[in-house]
């Protein structure tokens, strides 16, 4: 019997990177692990899935799942999978899809759900899952314990866990499952996705992010920030103040009301570090701050800081970074 059901979301025809991370998270819980892959023509993908450290791979094939765009169908399919396999825990990545599908699945099954978890473990006495999740814009961390109903639906923030190593010799058992879906279940109809023209690395995937805030004083300095980001192979971001002022596009916004980033290195220029901004970058491993106010909140979270006028500091910093990166 499957105890932990891991939803294997797809990205560009392969498995989403978060799936390997969910397997790692599941290793910390007791019980057999199963991946569920949903889509159409899943031969290749289910083989890939068997190389992860799981006991079973459930394969749910349905022609309506080919497009992978209907949350309504995912929720309906997962509800049926849960009723058939009766898992104790369901793990879903907090992706664009997962953060909607997870709660909807939970409400449909009448069970508890924890959104955006950064840690999970099993309570040794009760056997129930206990999660930690950032609340109040990352200014506090809550511990939450599930009640008695199963499944316990846990939505895990990406890039918190290391991905499990692939092992092609693993060969987990493939088990096809049948679900009943019809197009009337698609209450929300997908029309199209329109891509905005963003050059370079996506903010939320970037290993290095360089961002500007109110303190930079205008739109022009963003070209310097872009230059720095290019040298470091990273992406440019902005605080809400900079976006609201029209200095940067809203798609660059980092914070509670924007992107959540998890880079190794986050360089902030003229950002004070209000709690709503910190909510979007609490996953950054190392913060470097340039700000004229030595008491700015950002320095409480930063590993390295320079107090002063960014317009004097940044040019020499960029030159030195370029020299060191090429040298």
């Amino acid at each position: 019997m499957t105890e932990i059901l891991i939803v294997a979301e797809q990205l560009d025809g392969g498995l989403h990177p978060v799936v390997g991370e969910l397997v790692t998270a599941a290793q910390g819980l007791e019980g057999d692990r199963a991946l569920v892959v949903l889509g159409a023509d899943l031969n290749e993908l289910s083989k890939t899935a068997t190389s992860l450290d799981v006991d079973e791979v459930y394969v749910v094939e349905h022609r309506l799942l080919l497009e992978q765009t209907s949350e309504d169908l995912f929720v309906a399919a997962l509800e049926q999978v849960c009723r058939q396999t009766e898992p104790r825990v369901v793990l879903i990545g907090r992706t664009f899809l997962g953060r909607d599908v997870g709660p909807r699945l939970a409400y449909r099954l009448g069970v508890g759900v924890a959104q955006d978890c950064i840690g999970l473990k099993q309570n040794e006495d009760s056997g129930r899952v206990v999660v930690t999740r950032p609340v109040y814009g990352g200014n506090a961390v809550a511990t939450m314990a599930f009640g008695q109903q199963n499944p316990q639906v846990v939505i895990v923030r990406p890039r918190i866990y290391e991905s499990v190593e692939k092992d092609v010799s693993r060969n987990s058992e493939i088990i096809p499952l049948t679900v009943n879906l019809d197009s009337s279940m698609m209450k929300v109809r997908h029309i199209e996705r329109v891509k905005s023209e963003v050059e370079g690395v996506r903010l939320e995937d970037a290993q290095v992010v360089v961002a500007g805030g109110r303190g930079i004083g205008g739109p022009e300095p963003f070209s310097q920030l872009s230059e720095l980001a290019d040298i470091l192979g990273g992406a440019v971001g902005a605080s809400r103040a900079a976006c609201d002022a029209g200095w940067a596009d809203h798609s660059l916004q980092i914070g509670l009301t924007g992107a959540t980033i998890t880079p190794d290195l986050y360089v902030t220029v003229g950002i004070s570090g209000a709690s709503q901004h910190m909510a979007g970058c609490s996953g950054a491993k190392h913060i470097v701050a340039v700000n004229k106010d030595a008491n700015a909140n950002i320095f409480k979270e930063a590993r390295f800081g320079v107090v002063g006028d960014w317009s004097n500091i940044l040019p020499s910093f960029i030159v030195a970074v370029r020299d060191l990166s090429t040298g």
């Binding site: 909807r104 508890g112 199209e192 320095f299």
Partner: protein, 263 residues
């Protein structure tokens, strides 16, 4: 066109973190005396979206909130922005409702409000960041749910939404009635006009209790409960780079980052 907008009173997320206090007994964050709460920012975006839709379609907007200890001048903001009615579900028994209980109370209140075409909510609340009450509400009421709207249009009994997507937007549509959550990309909430503020001051909210909704709060069983709340320690070990000139500090910062292999 009848629109219901759900709004929540929250701790002001723009207060400095030093003003945050933990209440160990209730596992809630409190702020220093004298700092007023605000309406959740995304919920104000939802109010703005409702006003934009009403400009096109006409009709009536009802703002709805569940809680207790309402700060009335804060909660009246949607009225001063231009919504028609304000319904507050105010009952001491609703202290610290979890998301599931909130969904239950909101859905009963919406049924009592009566006919509606569109329910609008903010995409998430800045306190508990659950982002699942609107989804639960849609599931409970059997409505289509569309999240993260940056643009909403109504035509032929359908709602057409542009959803914020990580690298662009997604166009979707659904038949009314439907529930839509609104993101900040919809645009800045309008400032209340003087006329709006005057009109709001003359209006009283409609206040309902658990009994008015036929809800027995004792029935609520938490499906998940908060067992602890802590403030993560700040690193407090920022290494400040100093030099004779600011330009020199810039290059020294780069060297230091190189030494610790961050670049």
């Amino acid at each position: 066109m009848n629109i219901v907008v759900c709004v929540k009173q929250v701790v002001d997320p723009d207060v400095p973190t030093s003003a945050f206090r933990l209440d160990d007994e209730t596992n809630r964050v409190r702020v220093a005396e004298g700092i007023p709460p605000v309406i959740n920012g995304f919920d104000e975006n939802a109010v703005e979206a409702a006003l934009i839709v009403r400009e096109e379609t006409g009709g009536k907007i009802t703002a709805l909130s569940v809680g207790n200890d309402f700060a009335m001048d804060v909660m009246k903001k949607p009225l001063s922005m231009g919504v028609d009615d304000l319904v507050l579900i105010d009952d001491p028994q609703f202290f610290q409702l979890d998301a599931y209980a909130t969904v239950c109370v909101l859905s009963e209140a919406i049924r009592k409000i009566g006919e509606f075409d569109l329910i609008l909510c903010g995409r998430q609340a800045s306190d508990w960041d659950n982002a699942h009450v609107p989804l639960g509400l849609a599931e409970t009421l059997g409505l289509p749910s569309i999240t993260m709207a940056q643009q909403i249009e109504i035509s032929n009994s359908m709602v057409l939404v542009h959803r914020v997507f990580p690298d662009g937007y997604e166009k979707v549509e659904a038949d009314l009635p439907a529930l839509v959550t609104v993101s900040n990309e919809i645009g800045q909430p309008r400032y209340p006009t003087l006329r709006g503020i005057m009109a709001a001051s003359r209006k009283s909210p409609i206040v309902w209790t658990a009994r008015d909704l036929g809800i027995d709060p004792a029935r609520f069983e938490p499906k998940i409960s908060v067992t602890g709340l802590s403030i993560p320690p700040s690193l407090g070990e920022c290494e400040f780079i100093e030099a004779d000139t600011e330009a020199e500090a810039g290059s020294r910062l780069a060297q230091r980052l190189r030494e610790v292999k961050l670049i």
